[in-house]
Amino acid sequence: MTGHDDLPVAARARRLEERLIAAELTSDDEMDEFLTRLYTKASPVNGARMVARAWTDPQYRDLLLSDGDAAAQEMGFGDLTYALRIVPNTETTHNVIVCTLCSCYPVSLLGPSPSWYKSLAYRSRAVREPRAVLAEFGLRLPAGTQIVVWDASAENRFLVLPGRPPGTDGLAEEELAALVTRDGLIGTAAV
Protein backbone atom coordinates (compact mmCIF):
# COMPACT_ATOMS: atom_id res chain seq x y z
CA MET A 1 0.00 0.00 0.00
CA THR A 2 0.99 3.64 0.08
CA GLY A 3 2.33 4.13 3.60
CA HIS A 4 -0.50 6.54 4.46
CA ASP A 5 -2.73 3.86 5.98
CA ASP A 6 -2.67 5.39 9.47
CA LEU A 7 -3.88 8.85 8.41
CA PRO A 8 -7.48 9.83 9.33
CA VAL A 9 -8.16 10.55 5.66
CA ALA A 10 -7.22 6.95 4.81
CA ALA A 11 -9.92 5.65 7.18
CA ARG A 12 -12.43 8.02 5.61
CA ALA A 13 -11.45 6.92 2.08
CA ARG A 14 -11.74 3.28 3.14
CA ARG A 15 -15.27 3.85 4.52
CA LEU A 16 -16.21 5.40 1.18
CA GLU A 17 -14.73 2.43 -0.68
CA GLU A 18 -16.72 0.04 1.52
CA ARG A 19 -19.94 1.89 0.74
CA LEU A 20 -19.21 1.71 -3.00
CA ILE A 21 -18.42 -2.01 -2.78
CA ALA A 22 -21.58 -2.64 -0.74
CA ALA A 23 -23.56 -0.82 -3.45
CA GLU A 24 -21.89 -3.15 -6.00
CA LEU A 25 -20.47 -0.18 -7.92
CA THR A 26 -16.90 -1.49 -7.74
CA SER A 27 -14.72 -4.08 -6.00
CA ASP A 28 -11.37 -4.10 -4.20
CA ASP A 29 -9.81 -5.93 -7.14
CA GLU A 30 -11.10 -3.40 -9.63
CA MET A 31 -9.84 -0.44 -7.57
CA ASP A 32 -6.42 -2.06 -7.06
CA GLU A 33 -6.11 -2.78 -10.75
CA PHE A 34 -7.09 0.79 -11.66
CA LEU A 35 -4.70 2.41 -9.19
CA THR A 36 -1.82 0.16 -10.20
CA ARG A 37 -2.35 1.04 -13.84
CA LEU A 38 -2.64 4.74 -13.03
CA TYR A 39 0.40 5.04 -10.80
CA THR A 40 2.78 2.79 -12.70
CA LYS A 41 2.18 4.46 -16.05
CA ALA A 42 1.11 8.01 -15.19
CA SER A 43 4.12 10.33 -15.27
CA PRO A 44 5.13 13.79 -16.48
CA VAL A 45 7.72 11.95 -18.60
CA ASN A 46 4.81 11.05 -20.92
CA GLY A 47 3.80 14.67 -21.47
CA ALA A 48 7.47 15.67 -21.86
CA ARG A 49 7.98 13.06 -24.60
CA MET A 50 4.96 14.38 -26.50
CA VAL A 51 6.35 17.92 -26.31
CA ALA A 52 9.84 16.89 -27.44
CA ARG A 53 8.39 15.05 -30.42
CA ALA A 54 6.25 18.06 -31.32
CA TRP A 55 9.41 20.21 -31.26
CA THR A 56 11.18 17.90 -33.72
CA ASP A 57 8.35 16.56 -35.90
CA PRO A 58 6.04 19.18 -37.50
CA GLN A 59 3.52 16.53 -38.53
CA TYR A 60 3.24 15.31 -34.97
CA ARG A 61 2.90 18.89 -33.76
CA ASP A 62 -0.06 19.35 -36.12
CA LEU A 63 -1.68 16.16 -34.82
CA LEU A 64 -1.03 17.20 -31.20
CA LEU A 65 -2.71 20.56 -31.73
CA SER A 66 -5.67 19.22 -33.70
CA ASP A 67 -6.39 15.95 -31.86
CA GLY A 68 -4.65 15.53 -28.50
CA ASP A 69 -6.19 12.12 -27.85
CA ALA A 70 -4.89 10.73 -31.15
CA ALA A 71 -1.45 12.23 -30.44
CA ALA A 72 -1.34 10.52 -27.02
CA GLN A 73 -2.48 7.28 -28.59
CA GLU A 74 0.28 7.44 -31.20
CA MET A 75 2.89 7.62 -28.42
CA GLY A 76 1.32 4.64 -26.68
CA PHE A 77 -0.33 6.70 -23.89
CA GLY A 78 -3.97 6.02 -24.91
CA ASP A 79 -6.81 5.42 -24.37
CA LEU A 80 -7.29 8.63 -22.48
CA THR A 81 -10.40 8.86 -20.32
CA TYR A 82 -10.68 12.56 -21.18
CA ALA A 83 -10.57 14.94 -24.13
CA LEU A 84 -7.03 16.30 -24.36
CA ARG A 85 -6.52 19.84 -25.61
CA ILE A 86 -3.03 21.21 -26.16
CA VAL A 87 -2.47 24.95 -25.79
CA PRO A 88 0.76 26.14 -27.45
CA ASN A 89 2.90 28.94 -26.05
CA THR A 90 4.17 31.40 -28.63
CA GLU A 91 6.60 34.32 -28.61
CA THR A 92 3.80 36.55 -27.37
CA THR A 93 1.39 34.20 -25.54
CA HIS A 94 1.87 32.14 -22.38
CA ASN A 95 -0.74 29.59 -21.29
CA VAL A 96 -1.55 28.46 -17.75
CA ILE A 97 -3.85 25.63 -16.66
CA VAL A 98 -6.13 25.61 -13.63
CA CYS A 99 -9.33 23.90 -12.52
CA THR A 100 -11.22 26.40 -10.38
CA LEU A 101 -14.15 24.07 -9.65
CA CYS A 102 -12.11 21.08 -8.44
CA SER A 103 -8.73 19.79 -9.60
CA CYS A 104 -9.12 18.39 -13.14
CA TYR A 105 -5.72 17.42 -14.51
CA PRO A 106 -4.38 15.09 -17.24
CA VAL A 107 -3.05 12.58 -14.68
CA SER A 108 -1.94 9.93 -17.18
CA LEU A 109 0.35 12.44 -18.94
CA LEU A 110 1.49 14.50 -15.93
CA GLY A 111 1.38 12.02 -13.03
CA PRO A 112 -0.54 12.74 -9.82
CA SER A 113 -1.12 16.49 -9.46
CA PRO A 114 0.99 18.51 -7.00
CA SER A 115 -0.81 19.60 -3.82
CA TRP A 116 -0.56 23.29 -4.75
CA TYR A 117 -2.54 22.62 -7.93
CA LYS A 118 -5.45 21.50 -5.73
CA SER A 119 -5.07 24.37 -3.24
CA LEU A 120 -7.72 27.08 -2.95
CA ALA A 121 -4.96 29.67 -3.24
CA TYR A 122 -3.77 28.51 -6.67
CA ARG A 123 -7.28 27.83 -7.96
CA SER A 124 -8.58 31.26 -7.01
CA ARG A 125 -5.48 33.34 -7.76
CA ALA A 126 -4.53 31.76 -11.11
CA VAL A 127 -7.58 33.30 -12.79
CA ARG A 128 -7.39 36.57 -10.86
CA GLU A 129 -3.70 37.50 -10.95
CA PRO A 130 -1.75 34.91 -12.96
CA ARG A 131 1.20 37.23 -13.55
CA ALA A 132 1.79 37.51 -9.80
CA VAL A 133 1.28 33.77 -9.30
CA LEU A 134 3.79 32.93 -12.04
CA ALA A 135 6.31 35.35 -10.53
CA GLU A 136 6.01 33.45 -7.24
CA PHE A 137 6.91 30.29 -9.18
CA GLY A 138 9.98 32.16 -10.42
CA LEU A 139 8.58 32.80 -13.89
CA ARG A 140 8.74 36.51 -14.68
CA LEU A 141 7.17 37.12 -18.07
CA PRO A 142 7.83 40.23 -20.14
CA ALA A 143 5.08 42.86 -19.71
CA GLY A 144 4.14 42.41 -23.38
CA THR A 145 3.45 38.67 -23.05
CA GLN A 146 -0.26 37.91 -23.13
CA ILE A 147 -1.24 35.37 -20.44
CA VAL A 148 -4.13 33.05 -21.25
CA VAL A 149 -5.54 31.01 -18.36
CA TRP A 150 -7.48 27.82 -19.24
CA ASP A 151 -10.06 26.79 -16.64
CA ALA A 152 -10.78 23.05 -17.04
CA SER A 153 -14.48 23.48 -16.25
CA ALA A 154 -15.86 20.77 -18.57
CA GLU A 155 -14.53 17.52 -20.08
CA ASN A 156 -11.31 18.90 -21.57
CA ARG A 157 -8.02 18.34 -19.86
CA PHE A 158 -5.29 20.76 -20.90
CA LEU A 159 -1.59 20.46 -21.50
CA VAL A 160 0.67 23.41 -22.33
CA LEU A 161 3.07 23.04 -25.26
CA PRO A 162 6.04 25.17 -24.18
CA GLY A 163 8.25 26.88 -26.74
CA ARG A 164 11.49 25.08 -27.60
CA PRO A 165 14.33 26.70 -25.66
CA PRO A 166 16.92 28.57 -27.73
CA GLY A 167 20.27 26.87 -28.27
CA THR A 168 18.84 23.33 -28.40
CA ASP A 169 19.16 22.77 -32.14
CA GLY A 170 21.66 19.94 -31.80
CA LEU A 171 19.75 17.96 -29.19
CA ALA A 172 18.05 14.64 -29.89
CA GLU A 173 14.40 14.06 -29.01
CA GLU A 174 15.28 12.20 -25.79
CA GLU A 175 17.59 15.00 -24.64
CA LEU A 176 14.89 17.56 -25.40
CA ALA A 177 12.31 15.56 -23.39
CA ALA A 178 14.64 15.74 -20.38
CA LEU A 179 14.41 19.57 -20.50
CA VAL A 180 10.62 19.59 -20.13
CA THR A 181 9.28 19.86 -16.58
CA ARG A 182 5.89 19.08 -15.10
CA ASP A 183 5.43 22.76 -14.27
CA GLY A 184 6.25 23.68 -17.87
CA LEU A 185 3.35 21.46 -18.95
CA ILE A 186 1.02 23.20 -16.46
CA GLY A 187 2.32 26.61 -17.46
CA THR A 188 3.89 27.63 -14.14
CA ALA A 189 7.37 27.33 -15.70
CA ALA A 190 8.69 28.40 -19.11
CA VAL A 191 9.64 24.84 -20.13
Partner: protein, 88 residues
Protein backbone atom coordinates in the same frame (compact mmCIF):
# COMPACT_ATOMS: atom_id res chain seq x y z
CA UNK B 1 -29.01 27.33 -32.00
CA UNK B 2 -25.26 27.37 -32.13
CA UNK B 3 -22.51 29.93 -31.89
CA UNK B 4 -19.77 30.68 -34.38
CA UNK B 5 -16.20 31.55 -33.43
CA UNK B 6 -16.03 35.24 -32.55
CA UNK B 7 -19.67 35.45 -31.41
CA UNK B 8 -20.31 37.46 -28.26
CA UNK B 9 -22.14 35.54 -25.54
CA UNK B 10 -23.32 36.38 -22.06
CA UNK B 11 -23.21 33.73 -19.32
CA UNK B 12 -26.53 33.29 -17.52
CA UNK B 13 -26.32 35.10 -14.20
CA UNK B 14 -28.56 32.83 -12.14
CA UNK B 15 -27.39 30.71 -9.23
CA UNK B 16 -29.05 27.31 -9.78
CA UNK B 17 -30.13 25.23 -6.79
CA UNK B 18 -28.29 22.20 -8.18
CA UNK B 19 -24.83 21.20 -9.37
CA UNK B 20 -23.52 23.18 -12.34
CA UNK B 21 -20.21 23.68 -14.11
CA UNK B 22 -20.58 27.43 -14.48
CA UNK B 23 -17.87 28.96 -12.32
CA UNK B 24 -19.34 31.80 -10.27
CA UNK B 25 -16.77 34.33 -11.48
CA UNK B 26 -18.07 34.29 -15.08
CA UNK B 27 -21.79 34.47 -14.31
CA UNK B 28 -23.40 37.47 -15.98
CA UNK B 29 -20.19 38.28 -17.89
CA UNK B 30 -19.77 38.65 -21.64
CA UNK B 31 -17.18 36.58 -23.47
CA UNK B 32 -16.15 35.60 -26.99
CA UNK B 33 -16.61 32.14 -28.48
CA UNK B 34 -13.17 30.69 -29.27
CA UNK B 35 -14.42 27.38 -30.67
CA UNK B 36 -17.05 24.70 -30.36
CA UNK B 37 -15.29 21.82 -28.61
CA UNK B 38 -17.61 18.83 -28.73
CA UNK B 39 -21.05 17.55 -27.78
CA UNK B 40 -21.23 16.36 -24.19
CA UNK B 41 -23.91 15.47 -21.65
CA UNK B 42 -24.92 18.46 -19.54
CA UNK B 43 -23.47 17.83 -16.07
CA UNK B 44 -26.36 19.63 -14.35
CA UNK B 45 -28.68 16.90 -15.70
CA UNK B 46 -26.28 14.07 -14.87
CA UNK B 47 -25.91 15.25 -11.27
CA UNK B 48 -29.70 15.37 -10.87
CA UNK B 49 -30.14 11.87 -12.25
CA UNK B 50 -32.02 13.10 -15.33
CA UNK B 51 -31.91 10.16 -17.73
CA UNK B 52 -31.10 10.68 -20.50
CA UNK B 53 -29.27 13.96 -19.87
CA UNK B 54 -29.35 16.68 -22.54
CA UNK B 55 -26.43 16.48 -24.99
CA UNK B 56 -25.20 19.93 -25.94
CA UNK B 57 -22.32 21.63 -27.66
CA UNK B 58 -19.67 22.82 -25.22
CA UNK B 59 -17.77 25.98 -26.17
CA UNK B 60 -14.44 27.46 -25.20
CA UNK B 61 -15.35 31.03 -24.19
CA UNK B 62 -12.72 33.69 -23.63
CA UNK B 63 -13.16 36.50 -21.09
CA UNK B 64 -10.91 39.50 -20.53
CA UNK B 65 -9.55 39.95 -17.03
CA UNK B 66 -10.47 43.63 -17.09
CA UNK B 67 -14.09 42.64 -17.63
CA UNK B 68 -14.12 39.87 -15.00
CA UNK B 69 -12.17 41.65 -12.29
CA UNK B 70 -11.96 45.31 -13.24
CA UNK B 71 -8.20 45.04 -13.75
CA UNK B 72 -5.56 42.81 -15.31
CA UNK B 73 -4.39 42.32 -18.89
CA UNK B 74 -4.75 38.53 -19.16
CA UNK B 75 -7.53 36.40 -20.62
CA UNK B 76 -9.38 33.50 -19.01
CA UNK B 77 -10.88 30.75 -21.16
CA UNK B 78 -13.70 28.67 -19.68
CA UNK B 79 -15.51 25.68 -21.24
CA UNK B 80 -19.27 26.28 -21.10
CA UNK B 81 -22.25 24.27 -22.33
CA UNK B 82 -24.67 25.93 -24.75
CA UNK B 83 -27.55 26.29 -22.29
CA UNK B 84 -25.26 28.29 -19.96
CA UNK B 85 -25.07 31.01 -22.62
CA UNK B 86 -27.19 33.63 -24.33
CA UNK B 87 -26.18 35.67 -27.38
CA UNK B 88 -24.92 39.06 -26.20
Amino acid sequence: MSYEAGALVRVKAGDPDHHTRVPRYVRGHTGVIVAAIDQWAVPDDCARGIDPPREETCYAVRFSAADLWGSGDHAVTVDLWESYLDRA
